[in-house]
Subunit: 631 residues, 2 copies
């Protein structure tokens, strides 16, 4: 089944709750501040509560209709602040969905699209914007000492429910031994709303939350919070339809995407975005130059500041939460790519390079940067300052082109902060393991601790078809080093458009990387989930082992392949060693014995073992043990 | 299709050569020293030559018959040394295939097995052993200053053909910028046979090569050589047949397994091994305690030194190249596991722990260690000193149980070296990222630089179904830190027996980890393959990009999903961005332009760009560019 067929077969949204899971809420200081978590009921009566990105879709009690959009989470909070106003908004232009597509459309296609647009327009709310003289960014509030509901939401969300963790945290020897190495991060045991405010004020974290995206469940991106991941979706000229885009979003957040970027480049780019934003509980990012380019028929030299500016406003009114803007790719840097192995590999970067060369002018994104800030702060759109000169191969890693641009992003960060605009910095790309730390160091140094948001990085170039793995290695390492958000890479990277399964594979690989980073940093809420799963594994609670994993379905399917019966799900063995050996069982013997004897000292134990030895032989010495096949 | 059906459908060996690849040989100082490499012909006329583990199976000119076994590679070298003799060997015992299975066999099953055994016995060569008073280990020769053909073979194999790399190595700026960080390794630009001898003499590398495995293509495991990977195969009580085992071996080495461990625990364990060894061009490792346990009907307490010793000799005569021996799991360490989250997770370790507790005696593997050395040196079987107390969860990482055993392995290494027996040390397991370096440091310190051979490690515990990824992260990091061989983990880890596809997934993930480590260490022969692939990518040579990858088939299939036509394989775009944008193309423009102008300085270039700008506009400024979809 190819990608087109696969998507075509998905006519409904994926809404089943995760196995043994129920959605619950942590309620904050006001009744309308309800932070979702996923509670997993274990077979031993315990409960493990997990951070949840899936929004109302996994809540069976919520009635979802993509044609209505999601319930409003933040609308009241925004209105209460009294610094915004509703207004008519920009008039929808014929070109918004791209100039060429209009010309080429068949009658039948045209009818279908008209219908979708009508439905999308019905979804579109009357936009808000800042009142004259005000500034509505979370950073602006933070700097004035205001703790917003969004900040409190983030604090509660980062902490999650902690009660269930107690049993895993009460072992002092273990706590000391596996204590993380935060690599410069300072993660408090409990995140307070005030801590969130302070981090946002310093620019060390952002809360991407456009005032026109009231459906968003607020989250933070910053090195003193959990490491987040981003998944890219988007249509293209060849495949995809609008309905499929919403399902891709739902699918991506189901598996754990904290943010989603809509990288559509083809048809119906405006309409697609309406649908995505109105149905997204996670922040949505875009690369506005893609749409601007559609408006000028794909001819980069024809781009103008006016068209770009109009596109920013268009998307800000729709509710996009952050914009990738390649304003650091300056004219004088372009020639630095001349001797690269793989030149410029960022699409946005190449568009701007083309424009700069054609006009021999400095990039209008750079020259108009303060104008852009004015738009960002009117809607609280965050900057994701793009790395148009990121390396496209290990050979080009950490070169002067890359770092010259990075330094410029650092300068622009300070300009953005002058306007209280929230800002994160994009990073590579393709970087061998031994050059990863230097990327983080350079970013921290030149970008004043603004959150780093990297694509991988891929540690090698010879794994087409498996670049989710080649890059998960780099992502885990740079996440540990301090990167706040990891942009996923799918198995199709460099080869084609990811389909549904590729998206899932990419997300799971990146959840692994992000969690590995949290564990290594010593995030106080991270390791307990590992412990709960390990304990379930040790106690042969198979269902719990599956359900606590990142992908319960796959774990269960794999187990079913050799031991499909229900009885096997409580059996004290698995197919790796069969029913005869189990290393876990011997430990239970050791433990029971040690407990009975009070453990005390070696000597006492050794003596005791002589008794044990006799007892064993008397009982026939046969017991059944299993677990791993390797050595 | 479940695992059983999948294997049943494989009646023939996988023998197709890799796409665009031919097998060739580097000929050494004697005509019978021919080191295989895989030469990949690129569409631009260039050739890239790769390290090759697949043996004669991918050589279309070799006639393979698993019932005859592989051609002899080293027989003459062994005989020439004059320090071995042929002898009748141990008499095949009824129990060799396990006591219980014999009793339970049906008549039909019995007939089939009798047939297979007869064929296997026909394969079995008359064994060799050391002549009285001699020592036939590669370490023994090395310490006496003798460079064996095996050492020369390894040197040529590690270097490979270097001519093709020249073009990727002649850029000084790049060479300096991406130069590796060897983390204490000392890898020379060119490996000489004398260097190999010296490393083996110091114990810093081993060449697993039993004198009864003349079919083996010699390879080295050591931190100053390429990082190697091991794949585990083996039958179990539930699934698998002997024919399938050989195909699993062929499949594993096709994708790059440098070593294979036969971890069979079920029926026909002796017979299975005959077939595997006689048909394996890579070193074969085993855990002899598994078979010994079969001989005592699965009752660990009934194990004796006599039965174990007989098993070692049995397997040494068959040609097993290294034995995992858990001699470091001593009685006084067992109670250290009492408070662990997951106790003892090594199967071999748990068997010995059970024996020690039942008898309340020190492990016979420890008390008879010098007797074991006597057997090892009579056949040149290498030690893989097992980590029976490795952590089975992140919570148990780096604890006293683990390190007490590791220190004991260091003591035993010195005993083994006293006998000139080649030795490597097994390592964990489950280790969060921030505790990985300490494992390497501790191993280097306590085990005197004997090669480290780790299982992963898995960096988190919450990824059942994806543990190949969770562990590839740890494997890459510990490989960079100095681990010489990485034991793979498949997606089925903790859940069930890996099938054919799982084996491949595990191997590719580990080839990625090993290569990422080689690149980070700055192995002089590693990065050129990345460069060749990146160049192909940049120049839109799609076929070359596929064929230089770790898995050409999957890369091609992924590309075909959206752009199946042959013409797309030379197209200057891919489906990610479609035919309209390509960042690669703009770089070619920049490069051509810079070249024409001589590049010189910024100023000159900037001036030139004004001209370029005009030229662009005159030509309509439209050109077609593509490559990555992310931002």
């Amino acid at each position: 089944m190819n990608a087109v067929d696969k998507f075509a077969s998905l006519l409904t949204l994926t809404r089943e709750p995760f196995p043994a899971s129920t959605k619950s809420a942590i309620v904050g200081s006001r009744p309308d501040l309800r932070v979702p978590v996923r509670d997993v009921a274990l077979t031993n009566g315990e409960c493990v509560s997990l951070y949840d990105t899936s929004g109302p879709y996994t809540d069976a009690s919520v009635d979802i209709d993509v044609r209505r959009g999601l319930p409003d989470v933040r609308g009241k909070w925004i209105a209460e602040r009294g610094d915004t106003e509703r207004y008519e908004g920009r008039i929808r232009a014929a070109l918004d969905d791209g100039v060429k597509h209009e010309e080429r459309m068949s009658d039948k296609e045209g009818e279908r699209i008209a219908q979708l647009r009508a439905e999308a327009s019905a979804l579109q709310r009357t936009p808000r914007r800042v009142r004259s003289g005000a500034n509505v960014t979370q950073m602006h509030y933070a700097r004035r000492g205001i703790v917003t509901p969004e900040m409190e939401y983030v604090a509660l969300r980062e902490n999650g429910k902690r009660e269930w963790m107690a049993e895993y945290l009460d072992n002092d020897e273990r706590a000391r031994r596996v204590a993380g190495n935060p690599m410069g991060a300072r993660i408090p045991q409990i995140i307070t709303p005030e801590f969130v405010r302070d981090e946002v004020a310093r620019g060390r974290a952002i809360i991407p939350a456009n005032i026109n995206h009231p459906e968003v469940e607020p989250m933070a991106i910053g090195r003193n919070f959990r490491v987040k991941i981003n998944a890219n979706i988007g249509n293209s000229a060849v495949t995809s339809s609008i309905e499929e885009e919403v399902e891709k979003l739902v699918w991506a957040i189901r598996w754990g995407a904290d943010n989603v970027m809509d990288l559509s480049t083809g048809k119906n780019i405006h309409t697609t975005r309406d649908w995505i934003v109105r149905n997204s509980p996670v922040p949505i990012g875009t690369v506005p130059i893609y749409q601007a380019l559609e408006k000028v028929g794909g001819v980069a030299e024809d781009l103008t500041w006016a068209i770009y500016r109009d596109t920013l406003i268009e998307q800000a009114e729709q509710g996009v939460d952050y914009f990738t803007i390649h304003a650091g790719l300056r004219l004088p840097f372009i020639h630095l790519t001349a001797n690269r192995m793989t030149g410029i590999v960022s699409r946005g970067g190449s568009i701007m390079a083309k424009w700069c060369i054609a006009h021999h002018k400095e990039s209008f994104l750079y020259t108009h940067f303060e104008d852009i800030c004015d738009i960002m702060k009117a809607y609280d759109v965050s900057f994701s300052l793009g790395d148009g000169l990121r390396p496209g191969s290990g050979a080009d890693a950490n070169d002067e082109a890359q770092f010259a641009e990075l330094r410029t992003l650092g300068e622009l960060t300070q300009v953005a902060w002058k306007h209280d605009v929230q800002t994160m910095i994009e990073g590579p790309g393709h970087v061998p393991m031994h050059l990863i730390q230097a990327n983080m160091d350079e970013q921290l140094k030149t970008c004043h601790e603004a959150p780093f948001y990297t694509l991988g990085p891929l540690t090698i170039d010879i794994a087409p078809g498996y670049d989710h793995i080649a890059s998960a290695i780099g992502a885990a390492m740079i996440g540990w080093a301090g990167t706040a958000m990891l942009c996923y890479v799918t198995p199709k990277e460099h080869l084609g458009l990811p389909d549904r399964d590729d998206v899932k594979q990419g997300i799971i690989a990146y959840k692994i990387a992000a969690h590995a980073a949290d564990v290594a940093k010593g995030h106080p809420g991270a390791r307990s989930r590992d412990d709960a799963l390990s304990k379930a594994r040790f106690e042969f609670r198979w269902q719990d082992q599956f359900n606590l994993g990142l992908d319960p379905d796959t774990a269960r399917d794999f187990h079913d392949e050799t031991l499909p019966k229900d009885a096997s799900k409580t059996a004290h063995f698995c197919s790796m060693c069969g029913p005869k050996f189990c290393s876990m069982k011997i430990t239970q013997e050791v433990r029971e014995y040690a407990a009975a004897k009070g453990l005390a000292e070696d000597a006492a134990l050794v003596e005791g073992m002589q008794g044990k030895s006799a007892e064993f032989k008397a009982g026939g010495g046969e017991f059944y043990i299993p677990i791993r096949s390797e050595t």
